[in-house]
Symmetry: C2
Subunit: 357 residues, 2 copies
């Protein structure tokens, strides 16, 4: 396998017949292509690629949950409007959100940072300070990492490690037809906040003396720049004695996440537009930017709310809970995943979340 | 803490009084600065920052080991002479080496990859194929990851997860004066291989029609481009009923690693130059490049051999073992860490390993 010659001055790339741009696949297609046929060698690997986190189990009734995320300057964040303190905070909350999405508790993180020489020690301390604040708030320990230089820009990788009782772990694949689809908090805010920041950046670039006008936007800006992870949802569900039949966190947009649950559970879904939870500030700001709120919620992403399904038997326990909104129900696979609009029309849900490529 | 104003068009950097270049600290100084005062919140965190891997323990007698490493194009690897297949392989072996250095067994890896649009799907498949080959060989499962775009170049982050019995975990801080310092395999090869590749790259750049002459260098090139991790050492030590008093893997060079053991164990060390294990191909190639072999071994790095100390009581078990070389012994802290040269001189060891910044 390694006999292709040790040295390839221009990499093996140019000797191949086929050159396919990564954009032809998209992130999820690419993951399937790269990891689709992976076998496992260890009995401790209970769940590999394909959920919010991997599940590892030894003897005993506890499982280890592990997830990794990379944040790249110019792709995931723009330092023109992202304070480094917030950046550190967000990298932690966005990463541990994957552990909560498995119905577990995050306890450790490992942090890798690559940075170019334009960053000072003080800048790096600021990033770490944001991480520390998040770790303290969520009771997570920063237990290891790697620090290196990069040729350009800042790259941060966070691995989150947590645990849950093996029989409490919630996967994406357990939803059944008639299960109720629920979501925590409200949606679309992070995306609307990003649009505000992008607009103000353009204003600033065309006239650096202009002061950005941001006081009306504090909620959506906080949703974008300093999102929280829904650790509390895991605790509330436990207190209500509800184990969701499936769960995922909303990082790429409601549409994309619903399609993941349907795809992996082998179900369809009816989502009701009028039920999608919204904050007034998000809604009003979206309107002022000529954005359709529903599109922001469906495709915007980065809200880090938890989307989950529960069986009908648990309906009474949750129906009036202020932290949750019931937004639809799962159906037979043949019905497909659909949005039922406020006007009563029915459209297939499409994954139009944020494209990485 | 977050009231510095939501938007900072040029980051908070320019408002600070002090701007210290990262190069003033170096990697280890930086890690101390950033993580020196970290507290832990969870009883499951048995060991945080400061060893080859973090140690996490729940109930039961097993500990989880976790380590993360980032590999950046142009910093850690040069695609002018690194085949993508080898790159994938090396990222895995270099990462799981940290788990073996804790006297544990690596069982899972999480892989993040950021790549720019100049990489094709086929190129990415090549990297993953190298990872798969390594995973298969070492019986490690690739259980998760993240794939994203980057503005420039390729960045790979690997998190390795393993396990060991809690009382078998070997830290850097357990060495005692009179313990014997041992190392597996031979040293300096990876660094010498790198020098060969750099030389051939220069030849190629000045005359692209020249074919690189590499057939004499297969050993050192393999050490650089496709290093192995010493899983077998952990197994051999267990079979010999030896638990090292301290252990570390050689990623930054023998000097730097010995100083870590001395620093964390509170000891000194005498290292004997004539005992440093060498391969003939490494030695001869170093000479032909006008490099001093001892300097290559002390400061070269990337050999991924295991360096460990054992108590005198274990000497008989290991003294003639072909996989290990006894290269010195630990001393009182006051004696410092010293190299005893072949000619009998005594010099303080200095960490002159590869500088990331």
């Amino acid at each position: 396998m390694f006999n292709r010659g040790i040295i390839k001055p221009v990499t093996t790339l140019e000797q191949k017949e086929t050159i396919t741009p990564v954009s032809d696949f998209g992130e999820f297609g690419l993951i399937k292509l790269l990891t689709g046929t992976l076998k496992t060698n260890n009995g401790s690997t209970l769940k590999g690629v394909g959920d919010d986190a991997a599940v590892i189990g030894y003897s005993g009734d506890e499982a280890i949950l592990a997830s990794t995320d990379m944040y790249v300057e110019g792709v995931h964040f723009d330092l023109a409007y992202t304070p480094l303190l917030h950046l550190g905070y967000k990298c932690i909350t966005a990463s541990i959100s994957d552990i909560y999405a498995m119905n577990g508790n995050a306890e450790q993180v490992l942090v890798s940072v690559a940075l170019s020489s334009r960053f000072s020690v003080e800048a790096l301390q600021e990033v770490y300070q944001g991480m520390r604040i998040a770790c303290e708030k969520y009771k997570v320990d920063l237990v290891g990492g790697d620090t290196t230089s990069s040729k350009t820009g800042l790259v941060i990788n966070i691995t989150a490690i947590g645990r849950a009782k093996k029989d409490e772990v919630t996967y994406r694949n357990g939803a059944k037809p008639n299960d109720i689809l629920c979501v925590s908090g409200d949606l679309g805010g992070a995306y609307v906040g990003l649009q505000v920041l992008e607009r103000e950046k353009q204003v600033f670039l065309s006239n650096p003396d202009m002061q950005p006008e941001l006081h009306d936007y504090s909620y959506v800006l906080q949703r974008q720049l300093r999102p929280e992870a829904r650790k509390d949802v895991v605790e509330i569900l436990a207190a209500l004695h509800i184990k969701p039949t499936s769960m995922i966190d909303i990082s790429d947009g409601l549409s994309s996440e619903i399609l993941h649950l349907c795809d992996q559970s082998g179900t369809g879904c009816d989502l009701f537009e009028e039920k999608i939870p919204r904050d007034d500030n998000t809604y009003d700001t979206a309107r002022s930017l000529n954005l359709d709120f529903t599109m922001c919620a469906l495709n915007g992403g980065e809200d880090y709310e938890l989307l989950f399904t529960i069986s009908q038997a648990d309906y009474e326990k949750i129906k009036n809970h202020p932290d949750f909104t019931l937004i639809g129900y799962m159906t037979e696979k043949e019905s497909g995943a659909n949005l039922i609009t406020t006007s009563g029309n029915r459209y297939p849900l499409q994954a139009q979340g944020w494209k990485h490529f």
